[in-house]
């Protein structure tokens, strides 16, 4: 084996190095130095993120179990940026609440371990590697969800997450075993050539899809979402809603377009129905939420429904629009969660009513929240508009006009509840509005990064064109 070929795993090895470095730091750091774990981890991870943008070759390792190509690097970079923002937004909370309990290191370790799992999951070349990655991505998150041990809701959310997550993984694994039974192989390439539509393979697909649908919180597998988001620490909820969901969406779309393509006539119907159900159910539940975390949870369920529109166009266009939407969605949602996090850290308030009159005391935060929500609602010229418009275009290109129509109606409904938050912040006047406050440097940096993403990712067309090129090349 050529040692140079291990460079293909640069992302994974780099992250592993960081995890080990943090562990060693933890062992040798004195009690006083424990607080500096946060800047230490942030600097390492920032370097890792920047290194990720260096060019890398295509290739596969371990007899095809692990593969890399520009599309996968691109998405790993997106995940890196997303996790970096999550870490920046968590820094304050870690310093104030977690360092005293001597648990800051574990938080960062678990988060990065989960990210490592996602790397392996999307880089997988066979179902075995995929499953290992999936589990590595899920299990640390369960611990993170239950991180605020002093809060009952957090523990409850942790149990809910681990139970339903285990069930979902089990279901997916069951489905994989059926697919193995029909094709006799676990390798994606081999399955793609031998898979045919039979009762057994379709059943295998349904089980497998259900497992992933849980991770993406598609209806009817979305029930855990709101409870877990509400109970989990805010940064963990934001990690779940963007990073975890984004990675699952990307691996799903890759598998559907390559390995499971022989079942296209079948799965396109399922995607069609699930898309409608997810959008509508997510929207209708989001309408009545008061708690911002639950609100964003249902909004993220609805967003997942929109993503499915892109999957109906089984070509470079579909893949590109899904990938692009996930990218802009990560920035938009992190912007919204970041503001919730900043406000909650200072005042402990998380309800929409508490935000009344916020613009007059904290104009910058309110503006960022407005940008993020408008981007989620798909208002130009923010990134979310381009993301959604292109998803619709992907579905319309295959003649799914009815579905596009249902989607745009849903987008209008979603605008209503996003406007409710904006109404509270901008329209209402309130004597006891949350007073003016300044966030610390890390939080500001995290918020500014997401704001830049929201403003630039759509208008700057070369980004989409790049995604389109790598997607087309990937499928050829």
């Amino acid at each position: 084996m050529n040692w140079n070929s291990l460079l293909l795993m640069r992302f994974e090895l780099g992250l592993l190095f960081i995890v080990l470095a943090i562990l060693i730091f933890e062992i040798f750091a004195s009690k006083k130095q424990k607080g500096s774990i946060i800047p230490f981890a942030l600097i390492l991870f920032t370097i890792h993120t920047i290194v990720g943008f260096l060019p890398l070759e295509d290739g596969s390792l371990f007899g095809g179990m692990f593969r890399t190509n520009p599309l996968l690097y691109y998405f790993k970079n997106v995940l890196n940026v997303g996790v970096l923002i999550v870490l920046l937004q968590s820094a304050d909370w870690l310093k104030e609440k977690v360092v005293q309990q001597n648990k800051a290191t574990e938080f960062i370790l678990l988060l990065l371990a989960s990210l490592l799992g996602m790397y392996y999951m999307i880089s997988a070349g066979d179902f075995l590697m995929f499953y290992l990655g999936l589990e590595l991505a899920t299990l640390p998150v369960a611990a993170l969800v239950a991180y605020e041990t002093s809060k009952r809701e957090s523990a409850e959310a942790g149990v809910k997450y681990i139970l339903s997550s285990a069930l979902a993984s089990g279901t997916a694994l069951f489905g994989i075993s059926f697919l193995y039974a029909t094709t006799g192989s676990l390798y994606f390439d081999a399955i793609a050539t031998t898979l045919t539509a039979s009762n057994l393979s379709v059943l295998g697909f349904i089980l497998f899809f259900s497992g992933l649908a849980f991770k993406i919180s598609l209806a009817p597998f979305h029930f855990w979402t709101a409870d877990v988001y509400e109970g989990a620490p805010i940064n963990v909820a934001s990690y779940l809603s963007v990073i975890s969901k984004g990675a699952a969406v990307v691996i799903l779309v890759i598998l559907l377009f390559t390995v499971l393509k022989p079942l296209l006539p079948f799965w396109s119907k399922i995607i069609y129905i699930v898309a409608i159900a997810t959008m509508t159910i997510g929207n209708l539940f989001a309408l009545r939420q008061q708690n911002m975390k639950r609100f964003l949870a249902f909004s993220s369920v609805a967003q997942a429904g929109f993503i499915l529109l892109g999957m109906l166009s089984v070509d470079g266009l579909g893949l590109a629009t899904v990938l692009f939407f996930v990218t802009v969605y990560i920035f938009s949602n992190l912007g919204a969660f970041g503001v919730v996090q900043a406000i909650s850290a200072v005042s402990g308030k998380e309800n929409i009513d508490d935000y009344e009159g916020l613009y007059r005391t904290n104009p910058k935060l309110s503006l960022l929240m407005m940008l993020a929500l408008f981007s989620l609602a798909g208002i130009p010229p923010l990134a979310g508009f381009f993301g959604k418009f292109f998803l619709y275009a992907a579905a319309a290109s295959k003649g799914y006009y009815v579905l596009v129509f249902i989607a745009v109606v849903n987008a209008t409904i979603s605008l209503y509840y996003y406007l409710l938050v904006i109404r509270a912040m901008f329209l209402r006047k309130n004597q006891d509005a949350i007073p003016h406050f300044n966030s610390n440097f890390y939080m500001k940096l995290g918020l500014v990064l997401s704001a830049i993403g929201i403003l630039v990712a759509g208008l700057y067309s070369p980004l989409y064109e790049y995604v389109f090129t790598i997607s087309t090349n990937f499928l050829n």
Binding site: L317, A320, F374, I379, P380, P381, F385, F389, F390, Y392, A393, A396, S397, G399, Y401, V404, F405, V408, V409, A411, T412, L415, Y416, L419, I422, R423, F426, L427, S461, Y464, E465, F468
Partner: protein, 495 residues
């Protein structure tokens, strides 16, 4: 920088500078300077256009084309014909007048002017776009700021009105987006590449089935903002709750996006669909004209009267667009302009009266001509122009509309035309009654015997709007000549 892109750049620069404004005075001066530049540019554009038109016979002039999203064939493509030029001039006038009228805004003034100017940037961008995608982007940029403008600075049930207006208009734009996809994915029907470019699509024969399917999407998508019955309900409550300058801009300019879009996109790009659907939408437009007029009669609140009158007059625009002939079309465009100016005048005047008397109820107003001679005089003139007195723009517009409508000899159109013509009488009733009661009648409230006179900025705003009303009314020839040339391509495509 080309002459058209500046229309988007100047507002954006103004907004950028406004962000750094420190006090109310600076905010006013920056907004005024920015919009005055915009106004000067629009006057310049009219002359530049006439000069260019003499040598350039293309459908659109001053065209520029930059690729934006290559894989979708989305371009930043701009260009103007006479219709867009006059609409741009209208917008510039109304926005500048709106800045004058909003001189007194004191709650979050910086945010008010920033939002107002962003809205205007959207409108300008809309009128210069030749690409469906950029046009759609600018359209939504023009609509969304209304939520904040009405919600923060409005009055009455402002939260409700703002939400209703925004949701109805965004639902319409959702329909529109489906229509745009329908056009885009059929734009290769003749074997070319998929395109969003309006001029290129106009060369393509989109299959008739697709045209019939997508025409109503595009038509309703635009016509909702043009107050098509029964989708007009956002308009009265929205106008009544909006602050003065926003009502002016909204009724004066934003609602014109509807007629413009119907004409330029729905009818021009889907001609077969237009021919098949005209009868249905003609009936709706006729109902709108009559319904709006009777609605205005029934109202007691000045703003509601004007809002319903706008529904009536804008339905008239749609009506004459659907009449599908040269005279009616130029009537529709002149009516758009005329209504834009007059309704902006009305809302400005109502704002001034309300600012002084704190009521918009007709019953509580009367005889304020004596106390407010300038405002009163302009009010009377505006009212007369509105009901179509010769010498003002309203007459020229309605003349063209009805002459065009009567050109059709078939019974169906005859009947509709007669119904619509009768709305002139109804219009006269509510305008004369309103003006007579509040201006001429006996003094109702003793407190109204002494009211502050019109200030310099109010007068400037009113005069600014009044001048083009008189120009169009007395010298309509130049305008209709200018428009006629640009209508020719539509005639070719549709008839």
């Amino acid at each position: 920088m080309d002459i058209l892109t500046l229309f988007v750049i100047v507002p954006l620069v103004t907004v950028f500078v406004l962000v750094f404004a420190k006090n109310l005075k600076q905010v006013r001066i920056i907004s005024l300077v920015g919009m005055a530049i915009q106004f000067a540019m629009s006057i310049n554009l009219i002359f530049a256009y006439l000069k260019e038109r003499a040598v350039n016979k293309d459908i659109m002039v001053f065209t520029q084309d930059y690729t934006w999203f290559k894989s979708f064939n989305i371009h930043y493509a701009i260009g103007v014909d006479a219709i867009s030029v006059v609409m741009i001039a209208l917008t510039a006038i109304v926005v500048l007048a709106g800045v004058f009228i909003s001189w007194k805004v004191d709650d979050l003034p910086k945010e008010f002017f920033i939002t107002l100017i962003i809205l205007s940037a959207g409108v300008f961008g809309f009128f210069i776009s030749l690409d469906l995608f950029t046009l759609f982007v600018f359209y939504e940029i023009a609509v969304i700021p209304m939520y904040l403008l009405i919600g923060i600075w409005g009055s009455g049930p402002k939260e409700f009105s703002a939400m209703k207006l925004t949701l109805m208009l965004m639902a319409a734009s959702a329909l529109l987006s489906v229509g745009i996809f329908g056009i885009y994915f059929n734009s290769n029907a003749d074997g070319g590449a998929l395109t969003f470019n309006i001029l290129e699509i106009a060369q393509v024969n989109i299959p008739v089935a697709a045209q019939n399917l997508f025409f109503p999407f595009v038509f309703i998508g635009f016509a909702v903002i043009g107050a098509l019955f029964p989708f007009h309900t956002w308009s009265p409550s929205g106008h009544a709750s909006a602050p003065t300058a926003v009502s002016m801009l909204h009724a004066g300019v934003l609602m014109k996006l509807g007629g413009y879009g119907v004409f330029r996109i729905a009818m021009y790009l889907l001609p077969q669909g237009a021919l098949n659907w005209t009868d249905f939408f003609l009936v709706l437009a006729t109902i709108g004209v009559i319904y709006g007029a009777f609605g205005a009669i029934m109202q007691k609140d000045l703003k509601y009267i004007n809002a319903y009158a706008s529904v009536s007059h804008l339905s008239l625009v749609l009506f004459s667009l659907l009449m599908l002939n040269k005279t009616a079309w130029s009537g529709a465009i002149i009516q758009s302009l005329s209504h834009g100016l007059l309704t902006a005048l009305f809302f400005a005047l109502i704002g001034m009266v309300y600012g002084r008397t704190h009521t918009r109820d007709i019953a509580k107003l009367g005889g304020i001509m004596k106390t407010l001679p300038f405002i009163g005089a302009v009010y009377v003139i505006t009212g007369l122009a509105y009901l179509g007195l010769p010498g003002f723009s309203g007459f020229v517009a309605e003349m063209n509309v009805f002459v065009g409508a009567f050109e059709h000899a078939d019974l169906f159109r005859r009947i509709l035309t007669i119904i619509v013509v009768s709305s002139i009488v109804v219009t006269a009733v509510y305008i004369l009654r309103m003006v007579g009661k509040i201006m001429m009648g006996p003094l109702v409230n003793e407190e109204h015997a002494t009211l502050p006179k019109a200030t310099w900025y109010e007068k400037t705003g009113l005069v600014l709007l009044m001048i083009p009303v008189v120009i169009i009314g007395t010298m309509p020839y130049g305008l209709s000549e200018m428009i006629k040339e640009s209508i020719a391509p539509f005639l070719e495509r549709l008839l």
